[in-house]
């Protein structure tokens, strides 16, 4: 498949791209930025280049990674989903409240939460596709809705104290150097592998790329545009709910204000990972690199005991840099 794509690229008269396909440049830059960032941080701070830090990069941001995978597909299809942070917050408080206040089994609660998240995603996808409403407006509505519902469930944080959570919390897989990965990063990494396969080796993945590249052409080619678009938002709703559950596993609590403005971080991670915001171009693998860069920046501010607002500014600047880079690379 990738061979076909690069052939098509060369066929469109792009002589410069014969050595290095244009669409790989942002991904390559992302990889270089990550290596430089991590290497310079390792030289500057003692103990940075350890498996503990690597494990931390994954553990602390597993929920962001999970929702960023869904966001990658949404952005690849040419859309945007601003509701993910709120859905995560809603899921976390719903799960915590149902387990602690109502004594329900976590497995049933998780099933309920995943169903609700998926339903909300499907509803937003339907509004966007069937009624041609702008995606950012509909998902903005979703953002309001889910955040309001989160506070409706319970206006304050709820602790989770359940044997299932204790048992899952004990699971840890050693990755060498004395560091271990718990359940949340394992969920993220397995989803990452699944997403890689789905994006590059399935019909659904190819349809997403085709729609993001040129929706009208996709319609003319007879691709199931409506079904695919709705499915993309549905999957993202599911993944956001899963990210919310992962968050409760990581924190052993739920809070209605969890993950406020996380949608912006998710978009930033996807864009820094080299995915084109206009859709059609990008890699799931890039999103992993984007997440690692994001996580490393926060680790650096922690190691250097800088203010975390500096990390926010740095990520904003990085976002700006990558968007401008995309413009320059893809200028026709």
């Amino acid at each position: 498949m990738s061979g076909n794509e690069s052939n098509a690229n060369q066929g469109s008269g792009n002589t410069r791209g014969s050595l290095l396909p244009k669409k790989w440049i942002p991904l390559l830059v992302t990889a270089v930025v990550f290596v430089l960032l991590f290497a310079s941080a390792s030289m500057r701070f003692e103990g940075f280049a350890s498996m503990y830090v690597v494990a931390d990069l994954f553990s602390e941001n597993a929920f962001l990674g999970i929702t960023a995978i869904g966001m990658t597909f949404v952005i690849l299809s040419g859309g945007i989903d601003l509701s993910v942070g709120s859905v995560i917050g809603f899921t976390s408080i719903l799960v915590a409240s149902l387990i602690t206040d109502y004594g329900m089994s976590p497995w049933i609660v998780w099933a309920i939460a995943l169903t609700l998240g998926t339903t909300l995603g499907a509803a937003m996808g339907t509004l966007i596709h069937v009624y041609r409403l702008p995606a950012f407006l509909v998902t903005l509505g979703g953002l309001f809705f889910a955040r309001g519902m989160a506070f409706h469930v319970k206006p304050e944080a709820v602790q989770i104290d359940h044997p299932v959570y204790d048992r899952l919390g004990d699971v840890a897989i050693p990755i060498g150097g004395g560091a271990e990965l718990g359940i949340p990063p394992l969920i993220f990494l397995s989803l990452f592998v699944i997403a890689l396969v789905v994006a590059h080796y399935t019909r659904f993945g190819r349809n997403v790329y085709a729609i993001g590249g040129d929706e009208e052409s996709a319609v003319l080619m007879g691709l199931p545009v409506g079904k695919t678009k709705i499915l993309v938002y549905t999957v993202n709703g599911f993944l956001s709910a899963l990210a919310g559950i992962t968050m409760t596993l990581y924190m052993d609590s739920g809070n209605p204000i969890n993950a406020t403005a996380l949608e912006l971080d998710a978009i930033a991670v996807v864009v820094i990972g080299g995915t084109l915001l206009t859709g059609g171009v990008g890699y799931v693998a890039g999103t992993l690199l984007g997440l690692l860069i994001y996580a490393t920046i926060y680790q650096v501010t922690f190691f250097a005991s800088l203010r975390s607002s500096l990390a926010t500014i740095a990520i904003g600047m990085l976002l700006l840099g990558f968007i401008v880079l995309q413009k320059v690379v893809h200028r026709d």
């Binding site: 509505g141 926010t312 700006l320």
Partner: protein, 352 residues
Amino acid sequence: MTESNQNAEVNRTSSNAFGKVMGSRILWPLVSLVVVLVFNAIFIPSFFTIEVRDGAFYGSLIDVVNRGSIGIILALGMTLVIATGGVDLSVGSVMAISGAVAALILTETDLGMWGLLPSVLLVALLAGLMNGVLVAYLQIQPIIATLILMVSGRGIAKFITGEKIITIGDESHNYYFDFIGKGHLFGLPFTVTLFAVLFLLTCLLVRATSLGLFIESVGANETASRASGIADRRIKIAVYIFAAFCAVIAGLIDCSNINAADTMNAGVFTELDAIFAVVVGGTSLTGGRFSLTGSLIGAILLQTLMTTLYTYGVPSDVAPVPKSLVIIAVCLLQSPVFRSKARRLVGRGATA
């Protein structure tokens, strides 16, 4: 598609005057506002009570225009941005920066308003320039271009205040600054005068000159506008600067109101309120024709709705739920696809 066109054609010829009223973009928001007010008149009689204390008016209605002032002012700037086919997501973060700068100048320096006003105006200029240049010259989609400032802007605001809430205490109290958010003029909160003056000036600026026409032209067809000699890029930069200007004013109101710069919460979600006010007010997100009056009504409608919910004891954290449903409903009503489907349904009902 052709069928619905014919339908529209028939409608237009059969009842021209009726169609004109129905087609007016401010009709629906106005009707909704009246409905909410009538509902309140019946179920919450106290809603319309206005008391006079110390020569100033108090009551729910006054509350609506006072609390709504931030939304109204933001909506003015947002209307012009949306009319050019753009959108500005950064206004909430710019509000936070404005409040942070104002609080810092009042607490750390003796400059007072003379230092404060030029500084926040500079903030507006820089923020608007950044958004405008990204959109106009680098041709980045407005959602994304302004997203950058939305993300980093809050970081900048937090950095300015040192990640804590700066309280404007007694020793740094400034009469004029206090007046912005809490003063009364002509018996009404000063914020009312502020948004009324801004509204009138904006209307004058865009309707008494050809500026409004240029803005609509850029939003309707950028290439054609450029071909006919309109400096589309400068127009775009100008509207983003204007939106940022409105945002810093709103930021000052917010900061003066609570007597502190709370960068975590200042202006959060206000960009969404402003966008919704504009869309509810009948300005299309695709750009082109705009209505400042519509946005004004849209913003007041949203605030009335919120105040009504609070009166019913809905916690302010839960209020976004009904708000989002109203917003999606209004968007559906404005969607051509939904309209033609509904029309077909109604038509079938009439013939059967």
